[in-house]
């Protein structure tokens, strides 16, 4: 996928997620709130795939941008009477972009374990600030009473999550179009080059550091938008959007789905959050056990995630078919 030899046209199979989403909207009306939550996580996972899967930046701090976006939208809606959903999104995106460019410029000269620790430190710092500034953020109690006006003045956020679902779906669709374009562009090919061999990229004259700062900022912006969506859907923000735990969960989701495949970001959150929803109802105290088991199985038997496994099966199947055809002759 991506690069100078690949066909950039959208293949029929790539429409499948959108067909599934619209199908879910009509067939599973009682699950739309969960669905909207899944959509926001898909957007967030997509932003992580851009830096981890394509540019090869490892991070445990992606919740800093998600959380900042969530709090920006929440504070505007709860404290400052800015209730227009698009204004909240734009403000969240801008705040996350600003944090992305300033922290990215600081930490992206490092790599591997140092980078991992620095990203973790940044989200923990943001988390502590959110906790201490309780006059603004509600602290440990969270920020409730977030006001979100009807979309375009027409569509109210309803109890069943119908508006929220379509709103998140449209936002995700637009983000997907942008990310997909980016990945297939020369810039995307260049990011793959940095991931595959940084020394070689330096040697062909690429200012690697600046390129990484830029993609990190773009990714942070998308993560901020995802965070704002979550706030608007829940009309509440809590401290659980910041720190190590949500970052780790997100990483697990993306690894489950498949890193660097664009659609791993779709499959991972669906599997993870559905499993979580089911397991938490069945075994409220042990649901993490099920998730852990799932991750172990994937890491042991499907290093490319669920999509990697599908790929292998597909290739085996088509080999089998072509050999069957050859022997039939």
């Amino acid at each position: 996928m991506s690069g100078y030899t690949s066909d950039p046209r959208i293949r029929p199979l790539e429409w499948l997620p959108w067909v599934v989403a619209l199908g879910a909207f009509f067939l599973l009306p009682e699950y739309l709130s969960l669905g909207a939550r899944i959509l926001t996580y898909i957007l967030w996972a997509l932003s992580l795939d851009l830096i981890l899967g394509y540019a090869g930046i490892i991070t445990l701090g992606h919740s800093a941008f998600f959380g900042l976006g969530a709090y920006t939208a929440g504070i505007l809606g709860a404290k400052y009477g800015v209730t227009d959903p698009f204004l909240q999104l734009v403000a969240a995106a801008a705040a996350a972009a600003l944090l992305g460019i300033s922290t990215g410029a600081l930490i992206l000269r490092t790599k591997a374990l140092t980078l991992l620790m620095l990203t973790l430190a940044i989200t923990e710092i943001v988390s502590v600030i959110a906790n201490k500034a309780s006059w603004l953020t509600g602290g440990a109690d969270g920020l409730s009473g977030v006001q979100v006006a009807p979309i375009l003045g027409l569509f109210k956020f309803d109890l069943f999550g119908r508006t929220a679902f379509i709103y998140c779906l449209v936002t995700l669709f637009l983000a997907w179009l942008v990310v997909r374009r980016l990945i297939y562009s020369p810039y995307g090919a260049m990011l793959t080059g940095i991931r595959e061999n940084t020394a070689r990229m330096h040697a062909v004259g690429a200012p690697v550091y600046w390129r990484l700062v830029l993609v990190y900022t773009l990714s942070a912006t998308l993560a901020g938008i995802a965070g704002a969506l979550l706030t608007q859907v829940n009309q509440f923000v809590g401290l659980n959007v910041l720190g190590l735990e949500p970052s780790g969960d997100l990483l697990v989701m993306l690894i489950l789905g498949g890193v660097g495949r664009l659609y791993g970001a779709f499959v991972g959150p669906i599997v993870y959050l559905t499993a979580q929803d089911y397991l938490a109802k069945q075994y409220p105290e042990y649901w993490y056990f099920g998730i852990g088991l799932l991750l172990i199985v994937v890491v042991l038997f499907a290093r490319g995630g669920i999509l990697g496994l599908v790929d292998q099966w597909w290739q085996a199947l088509s080999r089998h078919r072509s050999s069957a055809r050859a022997s039939a002759r």
Binding site: S2, G3, Y4, T5, S6, D7, P8, R181, L182, Y184, S185, P186, Y187, G188, A189, M190, T192, G193, E196, N197, A199, R200, M201, H202, A203, V204, G205, A206, P207, V208, R211
Partner: protein, 251 residues
């Protein structure tokens, strides 16, 4: 005097008490075919890494086309016309051969900032990369991942990437390293056909290749320039025989 294509003045590098480059004065003439030889541990790789900007010298100056670049970043030196190949094959192993070359061409054309139009529709980049592959006899491998190529061809890809940068100065770090001798002929052929206006510095252990390719040779021993001269002068030099050629048993 015409400005050198590449020049170092009193270039020094020490790691603690260990001096690996000791006052190296070196001049690469425009269009030169110049070889740098020396026994293992002479500091050849360190010298090359200082030229490219991968490591900073402790003191001294580096001039590229007459302009000082001692403190200029690696990427900026490439943009000013300094290309290199690596002793240890440094390629995008999982990517197709075409992408390996196109990524370099795109950097030279300042095209990798484009974020919207698909890479495969940037014909100006693809066509140039394809043309380059064709001249090196790699056209049929364009869509093959580098990992699936025989080693000798991977060495050619290494050269193709460097040529895609249209360098004025080209540093070839053991271009035939590890290539079986029956395959190295093709590499020598390619080196022989490189455009005459590129100044080339080749670091090589294969004396056969050095003496066929270079018209000027510098011998580096323990971080110092022992002697510089034409291949005939070097072959006749007693000191060189003592420290180097006498013990040269490399294939």
């Amino acid at each position: 005097m015409v400005a050198s294509a590449l020049e170092t003045q009193k270039l020094c590098k020490s790691f603690g008490a260990l001096t690996v480059a000791d006052n190296i004065d070196f001049r690469l003439a425009p269009g030169a075919r110049h070889a740098l030889i020396g026994p293992n541990g002479a500091g050849k790789t360190t010298f090359v890494n200082m030229l490219t900007g991968a490591i900073r010298p402790s003191s001294g100056r580096i001039l590229l086309g007459g302009e000082e670049v001692t403190k200029v970043s690696q990427a900026a030196r490439v943009q000013r016309g300094l290309g290199r190949t690596f002793q240890i094959t440094t390629l995008f192993r999982k990517l197709p051969v075409l992408d390996n070359v196109a990524l370099g061409v795109a950097e030279r054309k300042r095209a990798s900032r484009h974020m919207w139009k698909p890479a495969s529709r940037h014909a100006e980049i693809k066509d140039e990369a394809m043309a380059l592959l064709a001249t090196l006899g790699l056209a049929d491998d364009a869509r093959t991942p580098v990992d699936d190529l025989p080693y000798g061809r991977q060495r050619l890809v290494e050269i193709a990437i460097a040529l895609g940068l249209k360098p004025k100065v080209l540093l070839l770090d053991e271009p035939a390293a590890g290539v079986p001798s029956h395959d190295s002929g093709r590499i020598l052929e390619v080196l022989g056909s490189l455009p005459g206006d590129i100044a080339i510095l080749i670091i090589e252990h294969d004396m056969d290749l050095v003496f066929r390719f270079a018209n000027r040779i510098t011998v580096l021993v323990q971080g110092q320039v022992l002697v510089e001269g034409t291949p005939q002068e070097i072959a006749a030099d007693r000191r060189v025989r003592d420290v180097y050629l006498g013990e040269a048993t490399h294939a």
